[in-house]
Amino acid sequence: MLIYLSTIEVPDDREKFEWLYQQYRYLMLHVAKKLLGQQQDAEDAVHQAFVAILQNLEKFFPYDSPKQRSLIVIIVKRKAIDLLRKRKRDNWGPLDEAVLALPAPETGDHALADAMARLPASYREVLLMRYDNGLTAREIGKLLGITESGVRKTIARAKRALQAELEKEGIVL
């Protein structure tokens, strides 16, 4: 059941946050380390991800679900990429997300899902947040630290890229 009811006993939010921390921290560190390599950098990304979670705690629940797990993985990935982007800007130049170590999902036998899986991570993940997690552009923006209009533009571009991906394969839905 997705709609649910629960009683709140103060301090609920602290307990919820602690639950999320205990439940997902190692997974988050693992994801961040795959992208960033260094322990210290990965911890920075995990910390940034928890700050974002704390600021949007109403979007999270004190029980594990694939949707929530995926959302948390996406948030920590984006925080790790933000850190990489910042360092590249400071030191070496632009970041090519395509070379990042986290593999894209395997493709299967569903044309639209396959095309979505092949999209660049920045497009794919914002589509997951919008259409799998049901977040609004404003909520996605708050979690990722970008503007609502920026999210809307990314979603529009991602849809166009999805369409182009299907056309490349000669698929008409």
């Binding site: 009683t7 602690e18 109403e58 629940f61 995926s70 999902p105 799998d132 997690n133 049901g134 166009r160």
Partner: protein, 236 residues
Amino acid sequence: MNRLFSDEELNRAASQVRERMLDGLTEGEGEEFTPAFHRRMEALMAAEEKRQRRNRAFRRMTAAAAALVLAFSTVLTLNTEARAAVSTWFKEVLGNTTYYWFTEEKLESDEEQKLPVYIPTYIPEGYDVIKEEHRGRDYSVIYQNGEDITSAVAFQYGMMDDGRGIYVGSHTDAFHMEDITVNGCPGELYVSHEAGEAHVLVWFDEEEKLYFFVTALFDTEEILRIAESVEIIKNN
């Protein structure tokens, strides 16, 4: 080029991509954090707790103001002494979650009210209790028809004690809310638009200082019928 996709198509595709993404991930076993990270997280939690304490103080202030207004209007309407105690509720909506906060005007002489016993006198035929739980100031029971878990109906009620609350939330936007009354008590019905997702009915008996809710997958008329059949069995 502009054919694009329906929300349903994108929802389905995103769900499949998410499954594949999670399949390719390990849990992070063997990962360890440094002591410095733990200290940063403790600082973060401490700062959050401080923020919450401020918020709670604000909520209590708002609650006290609401109780005062209610008590004042009661005196005006009834022209009698202020009631010994009044419970009410107010709500905050954050995203897809609605928080109902309870507030109570309480006199020093008031004893803590014990939880009376209520049950729905109507439950569809063939249903049995599969789980029952007393948790201090709340009671919940789940009924089910045979082994079919999609048939489950949950009924819960509890005290609207000052400073407590309940929340109704959803992971998606696929629902709407309707104002309703149940046996004269104000309530709100959350109607899910997705097949396989439950509806929720929550209502408040302010005189008895109790909140109630029923949730189930079947149609909302049946949920209302169950709600309206709820009766007190024993007054503790």
